[in-house]
């Protein structure tokens, strides 16, 4: 406003000055020569001579001289002079003066060209940005055009009673109306003025007039764009869409300014959340190359039109001038030098402008990708996901390494995962990208997104294929990249951990700790590093990590867990007193911790063992801890463990009602609905029924539970029930009841569709028929993999493999147990197979570790005697005979275990013979061998007895010729011995004795005769000498004695 006021006062001053100047001239005229006529003539001469400044001065002088004249003729000439003066002032770019003169011209009577003057006045005001005045000028011009007489007479009437004097007005030919082009130009000026005054609503009608009347597509398009911009500013978004198709139909869409305006308008609409209006505008924006091609073609046309090689063209219209701000000169200097003259060429202004436009267009950064990206983003925002993916893809394909390109590939994968659930395609795109682009943040973000998805859906196996891509990423010092790398590798290790690949997890966590020291995941990583070792029972290695955590990260969230795990590590190292102390610390310090129930259960286990705490109430204390654990359990495994540990104790105390109480409480606890190991609970109920001698109920409970829960691989209670069912069937059911049970099992097998249940039922039936090994052999061929095989099936396969001495899958089978069924009773079969496999490969250290693990789990139970026997044998093979850790002691230990009486002792006895033989104690060895065939011929089908005979004969041979007869007697005794004489080993005795004697023995036996052959050797009696009853007489030490 301030500027405008200044302008107005300046114009006013000019007018006053001219009047003053005129008055002075008038006075002077009185003295001097030039009359008004002469002055006017002078002005006209100067004008014709092109001396415009002189002409202007003279015209001002003339006007001053005649200003007061009331003569119509003078007034008319003065008006004509004013018009000419205004034209000259405009030419001289003295626009404001021109405006003042024109305003005078319009305000005074007898103007011959008021329409033209009004139009020129509007243009002047527009040029000097006096938009308010311009609006008034255009409005007046348009009104005058429609009402010329009324308006002209208003001017005359303003002169009061002088109407008659101006009759001349009626005598003149009327000035023609504005042409259509002039009207369109005036409306354009009006629209632009309103627009520049931010009068958005007011500008729309005049623009609409222009759109409806102009012949220029360019002007039409520009006007539509301005309408759209005004509607955005109002705002009136719902009116925008009606203009878009109109714009689309004009060539203005090839104007780069319109395209840029479209971008801005679309962006404004987008920002306002007007997506439905923004989208068509974005779609309309043409690629720069297309605009360029159009404009270059147009330029060629213009060149031809101006006789330049090669083109045709159209004149630059007043509309174009107004639109694009060109002055009215028709030519302009160009930057293009003439080849011949070396001077700058003169060219048509429109051509120069177009050339400049094309240059600017070429210099303009490509905007298509930006537009495509905005469209992609728009589609994504309004959840048109496939469209979003498509447009992001266009951006990515065009500029894969630019910021928007990287952002686009991220968005593509994000949309595929999060919105479209097209995981496979997302993974393919991600892998392709990460494989090719290994630098910077984006590949990491994508890896992180993919990892996050798999983590969220617990698809841990799918996390691992990402690792090779991580390994391929180019490392950086950028802290954010390091953070991503840390996180990604950490999640890799977590994936291994969750998949129970503990060794890989351990290596993974170590990698993170080593590669990214001090990272944001260091504390977590340290904890899980320790945990991955705990899971592998590497308690001694794991322990320090938990202690380090506690000292370095005392305020991190795993402090309670670390105390607990440290206790576990101590427990694992059999440091029970320290472990108990640690568990007590957890119980006392962290009563709200998630590991509180576990700590209670673990302390309960220590109490229950009765070693660390030896008072009488040790079981009560254990039970109290299990109660605490159960009460605070938040996870099913916590409740399950404490419940069944308590049941074990109650069982030891024959408190069956208490067993039923805790088991039924567990089974019906609302906290564990749908989670409780009901099968295990039923197993305990059945077991209790057996103890209560309610066999039918027990069988029924087991059978129902096996059928009901046997389809779930994880229900290991079912497996316990299978074993129990087989056991009670063998002991308590008669043939008829057994057959009925088998019938029911077969019936369930036929109707079941569940592979796991079917396998369990087949195992149960095989066990009842004592045909597990045959079943195992069948399943080995039948099962493509062992994923759905429950523990009893795996055990059958182990047994079958063992029978065939096929150890090829021993490691795999044991690993499956470790990974899936660590607590299963059936795992012992896998240990045995593995141990024998390692022994066969002479992997003594491995075998000893397996033995140690098996003995750690199963102690001296009957079916793990193999472990001690093998241990003794390995020690013998290693030449370790004497001492506590020698083969002799190892074998002797077997003889002292009541559970191992029978075959294990038979083998141990024989192995003791081998030990003494290896030690050179031949007579002692003989005594052990002899004891084997005297005492254990009824065990293992006479196998060890036969071995004993042959080994005895071997010793007698080693003792020298004086024992030759004893040796032959030993062979004879073997052939007379009905337990062994038909075994393959007897062939050696037959060979030694020869056909004749062998025939005689056979004949003798055929008559029903028996032998009393005895062999007696003086044993070297010592502390470790066997005290076997040798020979039929049962005397010991024995002496070789032949008697037929």
């Amino acid at each position: 406003m301030c500027f405008k006021n200044k302008k107005r006062s300046f114009i006013f001053s000019l007018v006053v000055a001219s009047m003053f100047f005129g008055a002075v001239a008038n006075v002077m005229a009185k003295k001097d020569e030039p009359t008004p006529t002469e002055v006017l003539k002078k002005a006209l001469v100067a004008m014709e001579a092109g001396k415009f400044d002189d002409a202007v001065v003279s015209m001002y002088t003339y006007l001053g001289m005649v200003e007061d004249s009331e003569m119509p003729g003078v007034i008319a000439i003065a008006q004509d002079t004013r018009f000419k003066l205004a034209v000259l002032l405009i030419k001289a770019e003295r626009i404001e003066e021109a405006a003042a003169v024109l305003q005078n011209y319009i305000d005074l009577p007898l103007a011959e060209k008021p329409r033209q003057a009004m139009k020129m006045l509007a243009t002047c005001y527009f040029d000097i940005e006096a938009y308010e005045e311009c609006v008034t000028a255009v409005t007046n011009a348009l009104y005058y055009n429609d009402n010329p007489v009324v308006e002209a007479r208003k001017v005359v009437k303003g002169e009061d009673s002088k109407e008659d004097k101006f009759k001349i007005l009626d005598d003149k030919d009327p000035e023609p109306d504005y042409t259509q082009d002039e009207l369109t130009t005036l409306y354009m000026t009006l629209a632009e003025s309103y627009y520049n005054l931010n009068k958005w609503e007011e500008c729309i009608d005049p623009y609409s007039y222009v759109i409806g009347h102009t012949h220029s597509d360019q002007r039409k398009g520009y006007s539509i764009m301005q309408v759209i911009n005004a509607l955005i500013s109002i705002p009136s978004f719902d009116r925008i869409l009606e203009w878009v198709p109109q714009l689309y139909r004009t060539d203005a869409r090839y104007d780069i300014r319109v395209n840029l305006a479209l971008i801005n308008a679309a962006a404004a609409l987008y920002d306002a959340g007007e997506y439905d209006s923004a989208l068509p505008l974005y779609r309309m924006i043409l690629p720069r190359e297309e605009v360029l091609a159009f404009q270059e073609n147009k330029m060629r046309e213009i060149r031809i039109a101006h006789g330049l090689p090669p083109e045709e063209g159209a004149e630059l219209t007043a509309d174009d001038l107004l639109l694009f701000g060109a002055a009215d000169e028709r030519t302009a200097k160009t930057e293009e030098k003439n080849v011949k003259t070396g001077l700058l060429d003169e060219k048509p202004k429109e051509l120069v402008e177009l050339e400049n436009l094309i240059i600017a267009l070429k210099d303009l950064d490509p905007y298509e990708i930006h537009v495509k990206y905005r469209m992609a983003d728009l589609y994504k925002t309004i959840e048109r996901h496939w469209e979003g993916v498509k447009f992001f893809d266009i951006v990515f394909a065009a500029e894969p390494e630019s910021e928007v390109g990287e952002r686009s590939i991220y968005e593509i994968i994000d949309t595929l995962i999060e919105s479209l659930n097209e995981i496979k395609e997302a993974q393919e795109r991600a892998f392709a990208y990460m494989g090719k682009y290994k630098k910077g943040i984006t590949p990491r973000q994508i890896a992180y997104m993919l990892t996050g998805h798999y983590q969220k859906h617990e698809e841990w196996a799918s996390v691992k294929p990402i690792k090779p891509y991580l390994d391929g990423f180019v490392r950086s010092d950028d802290p954010l990249i390091i953070k991503y790398d840390t996180e990604l590798y950490f999640m890799q290790a977590i994936a291994d951990l969750v998949q129970q690949k503990y060794a890989e997890a351990e290596a993974g966590f170590k990698f993170v700790l080593d590669e990214f020291p001090g990272s944001h995941q260091e504390a977590n990583c340290l904890y899980w590093y320790g945990m991955s070792q705990v899971f592998q029972q590497k308690y001694a290695e794991a322990y320090p990590h938990f202690e380090t955590y506690l000292s370095r990260f005392p305020s991190e969230p795993f402090v309670d867990e670390c105390h607990y795990e440290a206790g576990i590590c101590l427990f694992g190292q059999e440091k029970y007193a320290e472990a108990m102390k640690r568990f007590t610390y957890v119980i006392d310090t962290f009563p709200g911790s998630s590991v509180y129930p576990e700590a209670c259960s673990m302390r309960g286990d220590i109490y229950g063992a009765g070693d660390v705490y030896e008072e009488k109430d040790y079981l009560d204390r254990a039970l109290a801890d299990y109660e605490r654990a159960y009460a605070k359990s938040t996870k099913i495994n916590q409740a399950t463990y404490s419940t069944f540990q308590a049941a074990e104790i109650y069982e030891a105390e024959d408190k069956y009602d208490d067993i039923l109480r805790v088991v039924k409480r567990y089974e019906s606890d609302p906290r564990w609905v749908g989670q409780a190991d009901v099968a295990k609970a039923l197993f305990w109920i059945g077991k209790t029924r057996i103890q209560q001698k309610l066999y039918d109920e027990a069988v029924s409970t087991y059978l129902d539970a096996i059928v009901k829960y046997g389809g779930d691989l994880r229900q290991d209670g079912v497996d316990l029930m299978i074993a129990e069912l087989v056991k009670i069937t063998a002991i308590y059911l008669d043939t008829e009841q057994t057959e009925e049970l088998k019938k029911q099992l077969n019936s369930a097998l036929e109707t079941s569709q569940n592979e796991t249940l079917k396998l369990r039922l087949r195992v149960t039936l095989a066990k009842l028929d004592k045909a597990e090994i045959q079943l195992g052999e069948t399943l080995l061929k039948e099962l493509p993999d062992l994923e759905s095989a429950p523990p009893p099936v795996l055990a059958c396969i182990c047994d079958a493999s063992f029978a065939k001495k096929d150890y090829s899958r021993a490691a795999e089978l044991l690993q499956i147990f470790h990974d899936k069924f660590e607590d299963s009773e059936y795992m012992r079969a896998a240990y045995k197979l593995r141990g024998y496999g390692q022994y066969a490969e002479k992997d003594y250290e491995g075998a000893l570790q397996t033995i140690s693990d098996a003995q750690g789990l199963y102690g001296t139970e009957f079916d793990v005697a193999w472990a001690q026997l093998m241990k003794a044998q390995i020690l013998l093979d290693q030449g370790k005979i004497d001492g506590e850790d020698g083969a002799r002691t190892a074998n002797m230990n077997i003889l002292n275990v009541p559970a191992w009486r029978g075959v294990p002792v038979a083998q141990a006895t024989f192995q003791l013979g081998q030990v003494e033989e290896a030690a050179g104690n031949l007579k002692k060895a003989f005594a052990w061998y002899q004891r084997t065939y005297f005492q254990y011929k009824g065990h293992a089908g006479g196998y060890w007895a036969a071995e004993g005979y042959l080994a005895s004969a071997r010793i007698l041979k080693k003792l020298g010729p004086q024992y030759e007869n004893d040796r032959r007697n030993t062979y004879r005794a073997m052939l007379y011995d009905r337990y062994v004489n038909d075994l393959p080993q007897a062939e050696e005795a037959r060979n030694a004795l020869g056909a004749v004697e062998t025939g005689e023995i056979a004949d003798y036996l055929a008559t029903g005769g028996v032998s009393n052959i005895a062999v007696k050797v003086e044993a070297e009696v010592g502390g470790e000498a066997p005290s076997a009853d040798a020979g039929a007489s049962g005397s010991t030490p024995v002496a070789a004695e032949e008697s037929k």
Binding site: L279, I382, D414
Partner: protein, 329 residues
């Protein structure tokens, strides 16, 4: 004595105009009355179209039957018959007020007024189509096309109505109706009409599950956008919505300003989102089709879908441009 109401007077005037128009025609030939523009530029104000077979048009003019090759005919023009006028009035296809408004015009002669009334009635039928009232549009157009339908392969002023009728049948699932007009229109020299007829034919095949036939028709299409639209329709019918969505996106990306195929392609996109259970996406897409292509029947169909799905006018709020999540501790 009863005085005639102004409306009755207007209608009487229209009837007189019809009578005069018919009186001027001195022939008594049978056939469909029409004007004819020959390829040499000569026009005949009134002919009676009788048949179109084997590329030849047979018509009567001045009581004389003529058969000319179709390439000698540039276009024909159909006008409204008295019966049609009465029928339009009776069914309120055009209101008495609209008739009165045209009759009151002083700047055109009687014949031109009749043509304007005809155009107005056609415009009203088009409005039914745009509003998605396909059954009403069919009811109005069927009688109009009964005798004229066979000539729709010739360029004429009712060809767009024939295309509209075919589309109505398509929307209503009337395969026979689509087939009837597709067969005629695919012979048209007007590329737009031909393309639409071909797509109509192919979509019928898709409806029958004859994808091979649909593919074969697609080969004849010159419009890349039309081909893609058909491809997407086939993929949808084959229960491959994801593939179909990707194909639609090809149209949107490469032919975003093709106003012939974009509206229905985008509407198809909305349906495809619905097929895969992405209701929000379907609603938003339908809303955009409704708004962007306002004034078309596709926008009408989109509006129906939009409201069926419980759409509300305001689009979803823009989400801020969040950077990918950083690793958390």
């Amino acid at each position: 004595m009863k005085f005639k109401t102004p409306m009755m007077m207007i209608l009487a005037a229209v009837s007189v105009a019809f009578a005069q128009s018919e009186t001027e025609d001195t022939s008594s030939s049978s056939g469909v009355p029409a004007s004819l523009l020959a390829s040499n530029g000569k026009s005949i104000a009134r002919v009676y179209l009788q048949s179109l077979a084997d590329g030849n048009l047979t018509f009567a003019v001045g009581g004389r039957a003529m058969t000319v090759p179709l390439d000698k005919v540039t276009s024909v023009g159909f006008s409204m018959t008295k019966e049609e006028f009465d029928s339009f009035r009776e069914k309120q296809t055009i209101s008495d007020a609209e008739i009165a408004e045209i009759s009151a015009r002083t700047d055109v002669d009687k014949v031109a007024k009749l043509q304007l009334i005809f155009e107005k009635a056609l415009g009203n039928i088009e409005a039914m189509y745009v509003e998605g009232d396909y059954a009403a549009a069919v009811a109005a157009l069927e009688s109009l096309m009964m005798e004229r339908g066979q000539f729709m392969s010739i360029d004429n002023n009712l060809q767009r109505m024939a295309l509209m009728l075919m589309d109505c049948y398509l929307k209503l699932g009337d395969i026979a109706g689509v087939g009837k007009y597709a067969a005629v229109l695919r012979e048209s020299s007007n590329p737009k009409a031909k393309t639409k007829a071909l797509v109509g034919t192919a979509l019928m095949a898709v409806e029958r599950g004859d994808f091979e036939a649909a593919d074969k028709v697609a080969e004849e299409l010159e419009s890349e956008a039309a081909k893609l639209y058909l491809k997407a329709s086939i993929e949808r019918a084959q229960k491959h919505p994801t593939l179909a969505s990707k194909t639609v996106c090809e149209i949107i990306a490469a032919h975003g300003n093709d106003l012939e195929w974009m509206p229905q392609s985008e509407l198809l996109s909305a349906h495809l989102y619905l097929d895969v259970g992405l209701t929000n996406s379907a609603v938003n897409t339908a809303r955009q089709v409704k708004n962007i292509y306002a004034g078309t029947n596709i926008a009408g169909d989109a509006a129906k879908l939009f409201y069926q799905l419980g759409g509300e006018e305001k689009p979803a709020e823009a989400t801020s441009e969040e950077m990918p999540a950083e690793p958390t501790e």
